[in-house]
């Protein structure tokens, strides 16, 4: 009992906004973990990050119109994912450039909207909420929508799992085998848009990338089996989101006293720590497998 009360501060399990935060965090982390595995395998971290960040435009537009930012995130994320795909650039260098410029234009517009948000209604909190999220402010009424969206996104990826995997690893091979590559990519991008919107709602638009990339990269370092990696990254994401929530609740008693640490930061820190830890695990395993070359860094696979 002592250990439990040391970890969970008083009132943790009775607090309504904690319940909402735990559920919202879990849904967002589970979906982004599963979808993000394909983002990492495709080598499209930048596109994933850009989708989330430009979604901030939608979030700020929705707030300007007095709507729940989630719908704004979602609308814009779908448009951005579509724009990046429509540009259809296959070479990674050129694709990153196109991604960057879509991102730049989107952010410029986001800046304008946030500026109008803050000067129009003098809610300077709008920028913080949209960019960095506020997990404890997720309302119960938003939860059913989040769960439903997350379910649809997860179903899209799970139902097309084998096609997704082949397309991510070798688009040429997939095309040669008659896989409708563009359709599969479209399904992936739609679920990416939903995943990123859910993450933006919980940890904010600019930190959504942490949930999208961190847990999958960690899982892919720990296992070579893709199915296990999808499952593992979902679980790692949920663990990080929950750990961040618990720590944020506890942090009320940490210095500087009397103010909680933002859950978004704590979730990001846990994600980052797990990624570093998985690197150490990978190195130890590599050393065991390759005793002939002491000190040599094993060829990184993830």
């Amino acid at each position: 009992m002592g250990a439990v009360s040391a970890i969970f501060a008083a009132g943790f399990f009775q607090n309504g906004s904690v319940h909402a935060a735990l559920l919202a965090g879990a849904v967002a982390a589970l979906v982004t973990g599963a979808v993000g595995t394909f983002t990492v395998l495709r080598g499209q971290s930048f596109a994933g990050h850009a989708t989330g960040e430009v979604a901030a435009t939608g979030g700020s537009a929705a707030m300007l119109g007095g709507l729940n930012p989630l719908w704004g995130y979602l609308g814009i994320a779908v448009i951005v994912a579509g724009a990046i795909e429509a540009l259809g650039v296959q070479r990674p260098r050129a694709r990153d450039l196109a991604t960057g410029l879509v991102l730049g234009a989107g952010l410029g517009i986001a800046g304008l909207l946030l500026y109008l948000d803050t000067t129009g209604t003098s809610t300077s909190g709008a920028a913080v909420t949209v960019l960095f999220g506020s997990l404890f402010a997720v309302t119960r009424s938003a939860l059913p929508g989040m769960v439903a969206l997350g379910g649809v996104s997860l179903a899209l990826v799970v139902l097309t799992y084998r096609l997704q995997l082949l397309t991510a690893l070798s688009p040429d091979l997939a095309a040669a085998r008659g896989v409708p590559v563009r359709l599969v990519s479209l399904a992936y991008l739609l679920s990416l848009a939903v995943a990123v919107s859910l993450a933006a709602e919980t940890v904010g638009a600019v930190l959504a990338t942490a949930l999208l990339i961190g847990p999958p990269a960690t899982a892919l370092r720990l296992t070579k089996r893709p199915g296990l990696a999808v499952l593992g990254s979902g679980l790692i994401g949920v663990a990080a989101a929950w750990a961040g929530t618990v720590l944020a609740y506890d942090s009320y008693y940490w210095p500087p006293a009397g103010r909680s640490w933002p859950p978004s930061f704590l979730i990001v820190a846990v994600v980052f720590g797990l990624y570093l830890g998985s690197g150490a695990v990978q190195r130890v395993r590599g050393r065991r497998r390759a005793p002939l070359a002491p000190g040599a860094v094993p060829a990184a696979t993830a």
Partner: protein
Amino acid sequence: MASLFTGFMTDTWVAATMVAVVAGVVGFFVVLRGSSFVAHAIPHGSFGGAAGAALLVGVDGTILGISGTIAGLFVFAVAGALGIGWLGRRGRHDVATALSLVMMLGLGFLFLSWSGQYADALYSLLFGEVFGIPASDLLPMAVLGLLCVVGIASLFRPLMLSSVLPEVGEARGVRAGWVETGFLMVVALATTMTVPVVGVLLMFSLMLGPAAASRSVTSNPRAALAMSVGIAVLTVWIGIVLSYASNWPLGFFVGVSGAVWFVAGRAWAWRRRIRGVPLAA
């Protein structure tokens, strides 16, 4: 409009022009090397440093005689560059970039939440505050800008080789790892001097747009470099005038024009292809 060129506005023009020159030069290599994500991540993440400095010494404070904001940006930009380099050698490069970025931003958010009173002042860093550049910042900006240009000039040949023909570079003894580290440091320096003007979110747009457009027009590296600088300067000048007239943030104009330049360059290249003029990639 006469007041556009008087008093403190002179500082604005000087600062913005320096920023545009550096962005044009560094941006050329960012596009050539396909480092768009890094060019986005380092400025973006450096926001955390500015927030940390505000927490330590206040928004207008100084650290060792240097503006606190610039010192904070510098520390985080360099740390970010080294972190991306270090993690990138041990795993996927884009994953390393993404996670370094969110870690720096997360720290920035933590600092921001601790220094609540400074929050509003820090938002200007997100989208830039071209009209508020203190005259005392001009000298450090000029020094950093000069360092960037000198850094690029001294790395010019190895950078070109390792960007365009990595195998040939390797054969000629160009150490790709060192060139990459040197380049990341130049991006970090450029970040430190440019971010207070253009903002952390849109710095990279000023690097990518002009350079991408110039590469679609000419395949001669020196001409493309000069053109990239020219377009960047033009972008910023137009941005200042429009921002002054509308009172909207400069970042908006810079971000949108970045995409416009890119599309214009593509259209130019497409027209030439239609006419049958061969275009070397």
